[in-house]
């Protein structure tokens, strides 16, 4: 655990000295400050078209930044020879991976927390502070996206041999999960026999972290009806007593599976070459 903490501390230092983090922070602040431009009553009423478009904006930005920063960080450890040296230290592979991911998560979540915090403070000063519950849901949405896509970035960074490979694969994964997903989903489900559509939709929603988090936040903000009747069971489940716990459990399984896969691959490389 101590080794993981040292790796995380180094990652924090590197992260906050990386110009990328500040470009990302500036862009994210711009997005979150747009909350203040919405009419105040729209933000009090929970989910609205304005809130939906802001969620979509975050859905484009956060997964891309997280995939790039996360996968670059791991691929550069291999490319720069840093992992070769660290592999000769009395440190487990899991401590290394867990430390990297914890440090990166802390950097990225700090960036979004700063953006929402700035929005809250400026909103209060301007006399139109956004509803704390709505702001909290936006933050949960952002943090959820970061954690899930960081797990995906761990897999990409593990498999990539260089930063270029990590860049290419990250952009491809982002395009597939964020941009092409709705079209592919409609096309794919249309090919299935009717009784298979609902279970397939449920399974595919759990597979795409962006869909999973978006569905949860929109339902929690009271806008579940926008998804249509196919998602009725999801809405009932999320609104139910164990909805939040169930959602967190699915997220944890997703993150744990990605980290375990990454660990197995790093360990395999360490012991088999």
């Amino acid at each position: 655990m101590r080794s993981a903490a040292h790796v995380a501390a180094r990652e924090l230092r590197l992260g906050f000295r990386n110009p990328w983090a500040y470009s990302f922070m500036a862009l994210f602040c711009l997005f979150s400050l747009s909350l203040l431009l919405m009419p105040a009553d729209r933000l009090q009423e929970g989910y609205s078209a304005a809130a939906g478009s802001l969620l979509n904006l975050m859905l484009y930005l956060l997964p891309l930044m997280t995939l790039l920063i996360g996968s670059f960080s791991l691929a550069s450890e291999k490319e720069e020879g840093s992992w070769d040296l660290l592999a000769t230290y009395p440190m487990g592979t899991f401590a290394f991976l867990a430390g990297k991911m914890a440090g990166l998560a802390a950097v990225l979540i700090t960036v979004v927390a700063f953006g929402f915090g700035l929005t809250g403070v400026l909103g209060a000063l301007a006399g139109k502070a956004p509803d704390a519950g709505v702001l909290g849901m936006f933050f949960a949405f952002a943090a959820g996206l970061i954690l899930l896509f960081l797990a995906a970035a761990a897999v990409i960074g593990t498999l990539a041999e260089s930063r270029w490979q990590a860049l290419t694969v990250s952009v491809a994964v982002w395009f597939f999960l964020i941009i092409a997903w709705p079209t592919l989903l409609i096309a794919g489900l249309g090919l299935l026999p009717h009784p298979w559509i609902k279970p397939a939709l449920a399974a595919l929603t759990a597979v795409n972290p962006a869909e999973l988090v978006r569905l949860f936040v929109v339902v929690k903000l009271g806008g579940g009806s926008v998804f249509g009747p196919e998602y009725y069971a999801w809405m009932n489940w999320i609104r139910g007593a164990g909805g939040t716990a169930g959602f967190l459990a699915v997220c944890l399984v997703w993150i744990a599976a990605a980290l375990m896969f990454s660990h197995v691959m790093w360990e395999r490389r360490r012991t088999h070459g």
């Binding site: 040292h6 000295r17 990386n18 720069e80 020879g81 040296l85 592999a87 000769t88 230290y89 070459g273």
Partner: protein, 235 residues
């Protein structure tokens, strides 16, 4: 005779269908300086990376102080200080922060970081980002990293690459000091004068095979005889 601190026993490395190292064996004893000498591409770095646990051998075993790498990875790692040849410093950490990170991982006290920086002449550059260092300064920082925990075995890959003559001499002095304290040093080089100045024993490596083990002077004479004869014929 004392037990060897490093035992490399018939290691073979096959990667991408090519045999990089074939059935190589050598040992290093406490307080000894062993040089792996050979031309570029001979397999020295592969052999060194297998000796420190940075690269697993396809066949054969490596043990430090009796601890085999595959079975006792942490015990093995605690006894080794490794200086790689192809390390690139990325990010914006200063030399002191970089060294402090490595020190933390080995449980070395913070005072030792400044001491190690002074030993390699980088005390005044401690706050400079390591990525901005020249090749020679990076080599010295990596050497400081290997010495940090004062492990019984130091394994150095081309340690004098990029060092100016002054620092090559300083390196020889530092290694001699370490061996006087009982440390064992194994290093690779393609510079015969460095091997001759420093090594008690030379292991000749060529085309992935350990060709010969001999005293420094004998081995170097045998290894560089063809080159000397060629030069003589040319002149």
């Amino acid at each position: 005779m004392a037990e060897p601190i490093l035992t490399v026993d018939r290691v073979t490395k096959i990667a991408g269908g090519r045999t990089l190292v074939r059935e190589a064996s050598f040992a290093a004893f406490p307080g000894e300086v062993v040089a792996l000498v050979g031309p570029n591409g001979a397999g020295k770095s592969t052999l060194i990376r297998m000796a420190v646990g940075a690269m697993p051998p396809t066949r054969g075993t490596v043990a430090v102080d009796g601890y085999e790498w595959r079975k006792h990875r942490k015990e093995f790692a605690r006894r080794i200080g490794y200086m790689p040849d192809d390390y690139r410093f990325g990010g914006r950490l200063s030399a002191r922060e970089t060294l402090a990170f490595w020190a933390n991982l080995r449980g070395v006290p913070r005072e030792r970081v400044d001491e190690a920086l002074s030993e390699v002449g980088l005390a005044e550059a401690a706050r400079t980002p390591a990525a901005a260092f020249s090749k020679g300064m990076r080599q010295r920082l990596l050497f400081a990293q290997a010495m940090l925990a004062r492990p019984p075995l130091l394994v150095l890959d081309e340690p004098t690459n990029g060092l100016d003559p002054l620092w090559q001499a300083e390196f020889v002095r530092l290694v001699r000091g370490l061996t006087r304290e009982g440390h064992t040093v194994v290093f690779s080089t393609h510079q015969p004068e460095v091997a001759e100045a420093l090594a008690d024993r030379v292991v000749l490596v060529n085309r992935g095979e350990v060709r010969e083990e001999a005293s420094a002077a004998e081995a170097l004479r045998a290894f560089f005889r063809p080159l000397a004869e060629g030069l003589k014929a040319m002149s």
